[in-house]
Amino acid sequence: MHGLVAVDLHVIWQQVFHPDSVFFRTLWATVYISIIAQTAGVLLGLLAALARVSRFAPLRWISGVYVWVFRGTPVLVQIFYVYFAFSWPTLHFGFWTVPDAAIAGIVALSINEGAYMREIIRAGIDSVDKGQMEAAKSVGMTYGLAMRRIILPQAARVIVPPLGNEFNNMMKTTSLVYTIGVFEMFAFAEQNYSQFFIADYFLAIAVWYLLLTTVWTFIQAYIERRLSVSERGEELSFRERVQAAWNPMTSWARGGGG
């Protein structure tokens, strides 16, 4: 234990620049849990958003209850419930093994994320001018075709900036699945801390989280730039996109403004 705040540079140096294979396994766990949970969350959110704007009332109610429950309860409670209430298999893909706890964690995070994504996707759909659906129908498109070809591609421009922020959050929120025994990056730091009582393991993984979210910022900027190519005339440079991505509020406003 340290009396004063003292940074053990050796631990940080070691973990950031010379990580071992055990660490890399935990880093990989954090990455794959984030990516799978976010992807599934987007798909669930899309289904729930389509249910929300459906003409069929029971679908709208189900969608409403879903968001009400999963935004209204702690994600940690959801993770524990999903893990302990059901039995989950351990999956093997060649040399890659996904333990049951990781699967439960992914399921819980996906369902939770879907509730937030529904709101984002619905806002995106609502942002598309009503005349677009009418024009699509007037040339003989069904509702589903018009959604797929005309409405959702336009909604995507509004959806992507906040979706990027959601993924940024997701990479950090995955640390919660350590509590059900998933050996991911936070678990690595916690385990080393318990053994050596050196707090700098937490600092070291903070650097890694920061690295992940920073890399994502650049990927997000690239995706947004691709999406804006056909935007009404104005086009933001890559640098402006990155700047916008640093600030959620401006990137939201920009996406919404078209």
């Binding site: 024009a135 007037s138 005309i150 935007e231 009404r232």
Partner: protein
Amino acid sequence: MSGVVMHAEDVHKSFGRLHVLKGVSLEMTKGETVCIIGPSGSGKTTFIRCINHLEKMDSGRIEVNGHLIGYRQRGDKLVEDREKNIARQRTEIGMVFQRFNLFPHKTALENVIEAPVHVLRTPKEQAIGLGKALLERVGLADKFDTYPGKLSGGQQQRVAIARALAMGPALMLFDEATSALDPEVIGEVLSVMEELARAGTTMIVVTHEMGFARKVASRVVMMDDGQIIEEGPPEHFFEEPEHERTKQFLSKIL
């Protein structure tokens, strides 16, 4: 029945307590250009929106090309048709909107070929040929790959006309197609519409452009307060209108 493209009978429509259409009947034969005029709030736009079922009428019946629009006959009652069938019926009816409603994420050519390719399943090569020919017809041969955001209002509206024509509709509806345009580009859109009319397109034009109605219409229809109060060939209609409301309206607008 031969030659009848559109047949509307006793169409009623209310928005809440507002009775917008109070029994509108109109019949059109092939090649006719009908201009609907009248004060705002008279139900012109609502009426043509009922023709392609963008607005659901409360009672009455509308047929285009002999097909009942939006409804199915069950006994002596009409019930709303399935979405798929309504979509198919709409392929026979082209619509041009006041605010263009082009698809902003698609180029001019993509806008035009979108429905032929994805609704009619026309092979893409063939659709592109058709799309280019139509854009040339509306004077936009140099704008195939331009996005709507880079086109003027007049150019956008001409793309919208080409998009509607691409489905090969039996009937074209124009909903105040020039009302949202800057004065200097209204002419280019009207001349495209005039060319269409001369080429024998069956069309209904809701408009405030009396010059166009006078010159191009085969029949002018005056609507007021949810009803057709007078109709006739333009010479007769503009020279010696019979109805008092028509006289008042024309004296204000001309």
